[in-house]
């Protein structure tokens, strides 16, 4: 597994091996090799040791600072690599003597025989790398989450930064970030399943060739556990069929949906009475078959929801998640949080996210999801912001959208009184004509072959239902919306809103 024999040394064992458990009381200037380890029960045994041994003082030998001093001297005479003593047996004078003799001195809290055995195992494996790999395999097998497995890898490499990347975008990171130059070691993960290259990467301090080789071996061993943990995390996703039904069902009465699609709601994490903000994640390409990206999106989402309580579920046009919120929670602040944590990664993946606004009615799931989708669509179209909250858009969203279904959706959300009005089509026609003629009531009335007073009355109704025909900033959006509604009215479709 390790390729070629390596020498054990003090620094390596401190970084990856048994000596990680020991407290270094003094470290000699060199980095001596470790050729053997001896659990000493009689001081004279040290005289028989080969050079580069690690001298471990057995608890059975007794205790006392003099013992450590005498052992240090004998170890020094035998050119031992280090002396390990029980934590209660050293004093400042022992440390002082280790310094004078320039011999490494460790203390351990537990029974010294344990560390002697661990060192012997490393030596028996001919390298601490083999031991580390065996330890990693054991630890990774018991880790249940992706984070846990990555933490195991990081720990074996002295807390090195470990990243999971998809197409160059960092989806998940554990371990500390190091300053200064680093060496990078990577291995492909789930690339065949995802269709796009994804990698598990370790960043190590530069110029530590031994650690680079160990890291390479560790990643190879860890890869199956990483893949298993990643895929296991996606098992909570609802089936595509159910999700398509979700889209369809949102167009119908809510009460019917809750009865028929409890499973979908469960996957969304929805609970009756809880207030939510919906989040829609969409991507540029509308090509079908993006299911493999669900793994990526869900992993990315952990930066927003580390406990994975409200993982995104896949829909026919992207992904939807429900974030539980308190009444006082600011949607804009939520958007900023999401933008900060995953905005850059979303943009790099050609994706965008939209958030719904706040609704008094906790059961208003359909409008929440629609708002989120519209916001995501605007975010995708504008490209300057990866995450947008619907309250930031309002009717102006229409101006950003050339997509008719989206505009109709905006109208449905922003002008509910108009959409419910019995004279909706007449009002829309009047507003469109009025705006088509740049605010000329006379010309508009003439184009519609109605009296000026009739048109005035219809415009008054338009104002009453919230169409901003007198607001210069919003007049364009109102024009677009009314034009779109008018075109639909001319068509024969009975559906008020298309799924988008």
């Amino acid at each position: 597994m390790t390729g070629h024999p390596r020498h054990l040394d003090i620094a390596g064992s401190m970084a990856h091996g048994a000596l990680r458990e020991a407290t270094a009381l003094f470290l000699s200037e060199g980095n001596p090799e470790i050729s053997s380890v001896a659990l000493i029960t009689h001081l004279d045994e040290i005289h028989r040791l080969a050079p580069n041994s690690v001298v471990v003082l057995s608890s059975a030998l007794g205790s006392g600072g003099w013992l450590v001093s005498a052992a240090l001297r004998r170890a020094w005479e035998r050119r031992a690599s280090a002396v390990i003593v029980s934590g209660s047996e050293y004093s400042s004078s022992a440390t002082r003597l280790a310094d004078r003799l320039d011999i490494t001195l460790f203390a351990v809290e537990n029974d010294t025989s344990r560390i002697a055995l661990a060192l012997a195992t490393e030596i028996g494996a001919n390298s601490f790398a083999d031991t580390a790999l065996a330890r990693l395999a054991t630890a990774a097998a018991s880790a249940t989450t992706l984070t846990d497995v990555m933490l195991v890898v990081s720990a074996e490499l002295g807390g090195a930064e470990v990243l999971l990347e998809y197409d160059g975008v960092t989806l998940h990171t554990v371990g500390g970030t190091r300053r200064g130059p680093t060496d990078t070691v990577s291995t492909d993960v789930l690339s065949s399943s995802l269709g796009t290259r994804s990698t598990l990467t370790v960043k190590l301090p530069a110029a530590q060739q031994t650690r680079v080789e160990i890291a390479r071996s560790l990643l190879t061993v860890a890869r199956p556990a990483i893949e298993a943990a990643w895929l296991q995390g996606d098992q909570g996703t609802a089936s595509p069929a159910a999700l398509f039904t979700l889209d369809e069902a949102l167009a119908g009465p809510w009460s019917r949906f809750t009865d028929r699609h409890r499973d979908v709601l469960r996957h969304l994490g929805w609970r009756p009475g809880q207030h939510y903000v919906a989040v829609s994640i969409r991507r540029q390409s509308k090509a079908p078959g993006s299911s493999h990206l669900t793994s990526v999106v869900r992993l990315l989402w952990r930066a927003v929801d580390p406990r994975d309580k409200c993982a995104p579920v896949e829909t026919d046009t992207g992904w939807v998640a429900l974030l539980p919120v308190r009444e006082t929670e600011d949607t804009a602040a939520l958007a900023i949080r999401i933008r900060t944590r995953i905005g850059a990664a979303l943009q790099e993946l050609g994706m965008a996210a939209g958030l719904s606004g706040w609704r008094d009615d906790p059961d208003a799931l359909a409008p929440l999801i629609h708002e989120a989708r519209v916001a995501a669509a605007v975010a995708l179209s504008t490209r300057d912001r990866a995450v947008i909250a619907f309250p930031e858009l309002d009717l102006a969203a229409a101006a950003e959208l050339l997509d008719r279904p989206e505009i109709l959706l905006v109208a449905e959300l922003a002008l509910p009184h108009l959409m419910a009005h019995p004279d909706r089509d007449t009002i829309v026609e009047a507003v469109k004509a009025y705006l088509d003629h740049h605010g000329s009531v006379a010309l508009a009335a003439e184009s519609l072959t109605v009296h000026r007073n009739t048109l005035q009355a219809r415009l008054a109704k338009a104002r009453a239902v919230g169409i901003p025909i007198d607001d210069p900033d919003r007049i364009l959006a109102a024009h677009i919306v009314c034009s779109t509604l008018h075109r639909r009215a001319q068509a024969t479709s009975e559906n008020p809103i298309e799924n988008g």
């Binding site: 007794g62 006392g64 600072g65 005498a70 004078s93 002082r96 003597l97």
Partner: protein, 359 residues
């Protein structure tokens, strides 16, 4: 050789007794010196060699055996040691002709002079330890199979016991037990033997050596002269001018048979950087220099102040003190195999061979 001791000799004797043990509580040594000097105004005190006595003359060792208490805690009435010697005489049916110290150091180096004055007997210039050991079985007489008993003990309350026992190890157990009940310390007389036996198996000249040590250290000569002459007198090696950097109490497990709280003192030679470690158990039992064994019991180790050459009290050592460590050989019998077995490092719970073992 028969020598009449004078007051100055007693003062030097006290200094020498203190030096040979770095006594934790030297007050009792100097209190005895004062009492002896006072008594000497009326009586003569003779120091004799064992060879100056008839070979069959009965001689006996006197010494204080303590188990927690000292003279300072419970001062003697004055007749305790005389009572012990008289008990030996009664038991043996023979008059004692000479007194010798159980240990030629510390308080037990002083007691025989007082007893000798009280009983008009000479002090014999010999002892069975040649230094001080904590156990009454750690004697050259025991090495030579000279019986330790009968042993007479007398406590401060006037209680007296005679233990008729031959085996020194068994005697150790019995005496320690009795001492506890007698009040924490007891005057004892033991190792009653013929003068010829003491001459053959004891350590000769150990009393006069204490006086000579005192003569050097009590002199008005410069400190440097004192250091040099002590080294010459004792054939000692010195570790000079090392500074105390660390003092540890209870630094090792204590042996039940040896009632002393082990402690350690670490010193550093500020010029060479050498790290010196002293392990103490009543006396200094081990000296490590840079972790190597520079001295181990039965070697005799003493401490003097670098600045003025005075003897250091172990209980008064503080961090920052500058000391000279003086190391010299014990009597030759202690380096025999049986001697090291009885009084070497392992007898004090230190799992080390003496440097002379195996060499």
């Amino acid at each position: 050789m028969i020598t009449r001791l004078i007051a100055d000799d007693i003062r030097h004797l006290g200094t020498g007794a203190h030096f040979l043990a770095c006594t934790i509580d030297p007050m009792s040594v100097f209190s005895y010196a004062d009492m002896i000097e006072e008594t000497m105004k009326e009586r003569r005190l003779m120091l004799v060699d064992a060879a100056d006595l008839a070979p069959d003359d009965l001689v006996v060792a006197v010494g204080m055996v303590s188990h927690g208490f000292t003279f300072a805690d419970m001062p003697p009435a004055g007749d305790e040691f005389v009572g012990c010697v008289e008990a030996i005489e009664a038991t043996m049916g023979q008059q004692v002709r000479g007194i010798y110290p159980l240990a030629a150091a510390s308080i037990n180096g002083m007691v025989p002079a007082m007893v000798a004055l009280q009983m008009s007997l000479p002090v014999i210039d010999a002892d069975p330890m040649g230094r001080v050991f904590p156990l009454i079985s750690q004697t050259t007489l025991n090495l030579a199979a000279i019986p330790i008993g009968p042993i007479a003990l007398m406590g401060v309350a006037g209680d007296r016991a005679v233990v008729e026992v031959g085996d020194a190890q068994r005697a150790e157990t019995l005496v320690r037990s009795l001492v506890t009940d007698l009040g924490g310390w007891a005057a004892t007389a033991m190792y009653p033997c013929a003068a010829a036996q003491l001459r053959q198996h004891g350590i000769p000249g150990s009393v006069s050596r204490m006086i000579r040590i005192g003569e050097v250290l009590d002199s008005d000569r410069p400190t440097r002269w004192k250091h040099q002459h002590i080294a010459r007198l004792l054939g000692a090696k010195r570790i000079t001018n090392v500074r105390v950097v660390d003092i540890e109490g209870a630094s090792r497990p204590s042996d039940v048979a040896v009632s002393a709280l082990p402690s350690s003192i670490s010193l550093v030679d500020e010029e060479s950087g050498q790290v010196v470690r002293l392990e103490i158990q009543n006396e200094i039992v081990l000296v490590l220099v840079d972790g190597g064994t520079a001295a181990a019991i039965p070697d005799i180790v003493s401490l003097v102040n670098t600045d003025d050459g005075t003897v250091v009290d172990l209980s008064d050592i503080r961090e920052g003190d500058a000391l000279d460590v003086v190391i010299f050989d014990a009597a030759p019998p202690w380096y025999r195999e049986d001697g090291l077995r009885l009084a070497g490092p392992r007898a004090f719970g230190i799992p080390l061979d003496h440097p002379r073992q195996g060499s």
